[in-house]
Every structure is written in C-alpha cells, then in structure tokens.
C-alpha cells in the first residue's frame, strides 16, 4: 500500500487501511507539528496552495504543515483567487501551478473543482474543500481527533448535530465513521436531517444509526458530540431559523449527565452553537481538533510526496 503520487479528492477514494496509515503517520508528526522536533523531510519540495475562496484555517494549516516538514509554499489567496477566477479557467491556473510545484492544495467554490484539477495536473492534488462538495482532510482530522482522545473509533457513539441534510462534509464524516464501525445518532430538525440515501448507505455497511430531534436526550449516551452550524439561508423566515437554531445549541448546564470522557467537536468557525462557557470544560476538544489539521496534513504531504 502506498499513497505516493495519489490525489486526495474524496474520502471515499481511500481504503480503510489507507486511512489508518494516514492516522498513524499523523500521530508520528505530532512532535514536529508542535515545534518540539525539527524535520527536513520535504526539503526542496514546493506546495502550491491555491485558495480561490477564503478558508483561513484550512489554508494556514496546509502551509504550516509544509513549512514544518522543511518544504516551501507558493500561494494564491483571497482577492487574487477571485480575480483569477474571472480572468482564466481553473484548468489553466492548474497547469501553471503544476509546472511550478510538486503538490497542489486546492480550495474552490465550485463542486468537482478538485476532481477536474487532478485530471489537468501531473502533480498530486489535495482537495481542501470544493463548494458544498468534498473536504477529505477535514474528515481525516476529525477521525484523528477522535482516535487521539478516545482510542478505537469503532467503539464510539458519535452524535452529530446541526445541518445534516446539505452539509456534504458531515456526509463524508458519517460514511467514514460507519466504515470504521462507529454508532451514530443524527440530531436535527426534520427539514435538515440526514438524507435517506446516506442512512441507507450506512445501514448497508452494517452501521448502527438513528435520527432524532432531541439533543438533550442524547447527551448522556454520547462519547462524541459533533456540532455543526445551522445556516440561516436554509430557512425562509428569520423567526423559524431562530426557533430551530436555538434548540440545537450546547450550554454548560446541559452537560451535567454527560460521560466524563465525552468530547465536543466542531469544524469551526462556530457562530453560537457552542456556548463559550463550554470552552473551559474538559469536554471542549474543538481547538485541539483545529490544531490536528496540521499533523494530519503533514502526514498527507509526506505520504503523497515521499511514500512511507
């Protein structure tokens, strides 16, 4: 098994043992990611970090990952990215980046942008999120965070809360958790619940899943509570949004019956799904999760550029 030269477009493209390998190498990367050890593993290599829409956390963690491994970064961000979109095709930008770099990390507002880019680039492409599409490195860092905190992912009861209908990243996460044998509870109002086809895919792989609207009732049994943002745009009326969103917020007082090790995750940025008072509790793991973006992306860069 090797990931050398591979494009990482969709978490579904990775076999389970490949995911395990990435998580193992991510663990090895921790001391380097924290700056406790130095590495020149990717000395002389160049990452093209192409961000056609803002995503500060993802971009900085890709770039930090490359720097920590002794590699170099060339970058397109924000304003530059948006004017490029108007000026030339993505295919042409990718051809240029392919010529200048050894590996490409791409964030783009159009779904399928990463898959298309991979067909135009001989350098491997890592999808850093395409529109409402795939975001495989987010899924990998989510899995890594659970494994770091709790051990065997397959033994966990993961409660996923928020916009489950439209959020493709929660679909990818759920499918990955399902493949690893985790139990899942989906908490959302009916209109933004997990779609039937994902539920049937999950049941098809033998995963134990259920859907509910009651967050509070699920807290005592959860090992992980994965919060996501409920987007205002999904609702016709402001009033309805406020009513719905209000029912899917975590407050400190709701955690009295939680398991001691229960961990709360969030892909960030958050709005007000998690009350700031929770930040200082032992349950808050979303900042650790954000940090884990660095070792996981280091592992990917190393495995894709150097092999094992």
């Amino acid at each position: 098994m090797t990931l050398k030269g591979r494009d990482i477009i969709n978490i579904g493209d990775l076999e389970l043992d490949e995911i395990e390998l990435i998580l193992d190498i991510s663990k090895e990367m921790l001391p380097v990611a924290r700056g406790e050890k130095r590495s020149r593993t990717l000395d002389g290599k160049v990452l093209a970090s192409l961000f056609f829409e803002a995503s500060t956390r993802t971009r900085l963690s890709f770039e930090t990952a490359m720097h920590r491994l002794g590699g170099n970064v060339i970058t397109i961000t924000g304003q530059e990215g948006s004017s490029l979109i108007k000026g030339e095709t993505l295919a042409d930008t990718i051809r240029m980046a392919d010529a200048y770099s050894d590996i490409i990390a791409l964030r783009h507002p159009r779904e399928g942008a990463a898959r298309m880019s991979a067909t135009f680039s001989s350098a491997p492409v890592i999808n850093g999120g395409d529109g409402a599409g795939q975001h495989p490195t987010q899924t990998l860092l989510d899995l890594f965070t659970i494994r770091e905190e709790l051990g065997d992912i397959g033994k966990q009861n993961v409660t996923i809360v928020g916009d489950l209908r439209y959020g493709r990243t929660v679909h990818s996460l759920s499918l990955a958790l399902g493949r690893m044998g985790a139990t899942m509870t989906f908490v959302a109002p009916d209109m933004i619940q997990m779609p039937d086809h994902i539920i049937s895919d999950l049941k098809g792989m033998g995963a134990k899943v259920k859907r509910t609207t009651d967050l509070k009732a699920e807290i005592p049994a959860s090992d992980v509570i994965y919060m996501t943002r409920i987007q205002k745009e999904r609702f016709a009326e402001e009033e309805e949004y406020r009513k719905v969103a209000g029912a899917y917020k975590l407050q400190v007082r709701m955690l009295d019956d939680a398991k001691k090790h229960m961990m709360i995750m969030h892909p960030l940025p958050r709005v007000d799904e998690i009350h700031p008072e929770i930040d200082s509790t032992r349950h808050a793991k979303y900042f650790a999760q954000a940090f884990n973006g660095v070792p996981v992306r280091m592992a990917l860069l190393k495995l894709i550029l150097e092999g094992e």
């Binding site: 969709n10 159009r110 898959r115 298309m116 795939q134």
Partner: protein, 151 residues
Amino acid sequence: MKEVKIAPIKNGTVIDHIKPGMALKVMEMLRIDGDARHGVSIAMYANSKKLGLKDIVKVEELELEPDVVNRLAVLTPNATISIIRELKVVEKYMVQLPQVVEGIARCENLNCISNQKEPIISKLIRTSADPPRYRCFYCGRDQENVQNNII
C-alpha cells in the same frame, strides 16, 4: 391516429421503438443531418403494438456502431437497433446504457465545475443499471433525471 408507414430501406440502420416525440432528439444526438447519400426518414407518434406510440428513424447507407447508438439509451432506453443489408435484417439489438456518458447530458448541479467555462465535457458514471442511475464524475452528484439535461 392512423398507422404510419415509412418505406423500408435497402442498406443502413433502423432505430425503432423510440420514445414518442424523441426522434429529432435522437438525430441530434447521433449528429445525423441527412444528405444525398445518407437519406433519413422519420416517423413520429406511430402506432406500436408494444408501446402504444413510438418514433422511428431510418438512416440509409450508414451502419451505426453500438458505442454510438448506445448513447441513445439515456434518452430512450427501449430503442432497438436493426442493421439492414440488401433489405435483410442482419443484426438486431436493444440499446444498452453505457457505463460512462460523456458530453450527452449536463450535470444537474448548477454549481458543478462541469457547468462552468472550463475545457471539459460533462461526464456521468453509471452507478446502477436497473433503475438506471448516474453520478457526476466531477462533483459526485447523483443525477435525478438525466433525460431532462440532454445537451
């Protein structure tokens, strides 16, 4: 509606049992224009024992290849193809849904990269034969109705 008869052809291809009303779309999809050599005759809304109504397209002096006509399956899955030589049917088969459909139907996801100004053509991959289901190669969207999005 009265029975429509179109003249048999001596050599060429007969596409029969086309979904009623789809004949022109079929021609467009096969890029058949008809000229002095490749005469084309069409019957639309003809009576059929099997389908009630159907369209028929006959192309003279042209034997269409399976990988060309199979693209029609996306549009009209029950169409049959007969290859005619010297007034005899030498080959007859039903169109089969292709595994990959390129440049025939656009992805229904308007935000898909394949619907932007990029040097690529749409590409749908079959995920199930019966019922036929396709998924966009680029954005991964499962298509609700490919026939509505024929280019």
